[in-house]
Symmetry: C2
């Protein structure tokens, strides 16, 4: 096992031992340095978004004082779910290494695959997403877009 | 505009005026009560995950002391990106109302659609996701799964 994946595994092991959440750990590396390390804390924090990848992205961004993680590599014990996959894209991480797959996660009760299949249109979405257009929101979007002082991200 | 969407819009307007991030605001309602309210803070917090939906989900979960937001409705000024869409599913929110669409967001420079198309396999993923299987992670997954004291989520 790669040195950095070993660190991600140790994080995950810590989380399992302490009952913080699922068996997921992640580290983020930049220029050979570990700049963030986290394990799943959904149970501990009562936060459904507290996946290892999300927490490590937030720590790395805080450390670098930047919402862009270009030049960073993420190591994680399990294949990222669609939430974390998307966060990795928003963060512009360079590369991801993962150990166990979504199928391995499904076997221990995590339904990442269900969310992916809803996105793919293979499963019906149990949650209604209702579109209620209103001109006020268009005006707001334009106001942001036309603001010369805005920081694009 | 619906009363709750108006509140989401006001949150978004606050965020745009203060330069905290994009024109996105969200509120979460349970039993008629506003239990969380947030706007995008990607720029302010240097956090690429700080979308309005994510922050409001985290606040609502903290308020309810639960990683499940069953019985809650989310109102948001823009259609959730795949990260937030997935977080809404992980949180088991009942229903979502949104104002502007992904196309409206694309017009002002947000590439949600790109991430969705990568997930759909319509666009090549610019980020390599590299699978490095290792027995240690299988052992870890089984350890969690077999633990009678674990809290499933």
């Amino acid at each position: 096992m790669d040195h950095y994946m070993q660190m991600a595994w140790e994080e995950a092991q810590k989380g399992v031992n302490s009952g913080d959440g699922g068996p997921f750990g992640a580290v983020i590396i930049k220029d050979g340095e570990v700049i963030a390390s986290a394990h799943n804390e959904v149970v501990k924090s009562n936060d459904p978004t507290a996946h290892a990848e999300m927490l490590s992205i937030r720590k790395a961004s805080a450390y670098l004082k930047s919402f862009s993680l270009e030049g960073c590599t993420l190591y994680v014990t399990g294949e990222p779910c669609p939430m974390c996959f998307s966060a990795i894209h928003w963060a512009h991480i360079d590369k991801v290494y993962y150990c166990n797959t979504k199928n391995d996660a499904a076997r221990i009760g995590f339904d990442d695959q269900f969310i992916t299949e809803v996105i793919l249109g293979k499963k019906e979405d149990p949650i209604p997403f209702i579109h209620t257009p209103d001109e006020q929101c268009n005006v707001l979007f334009s106001q942001w877009y036309d603001d010369p002082k805005k920081t694009p991200y």
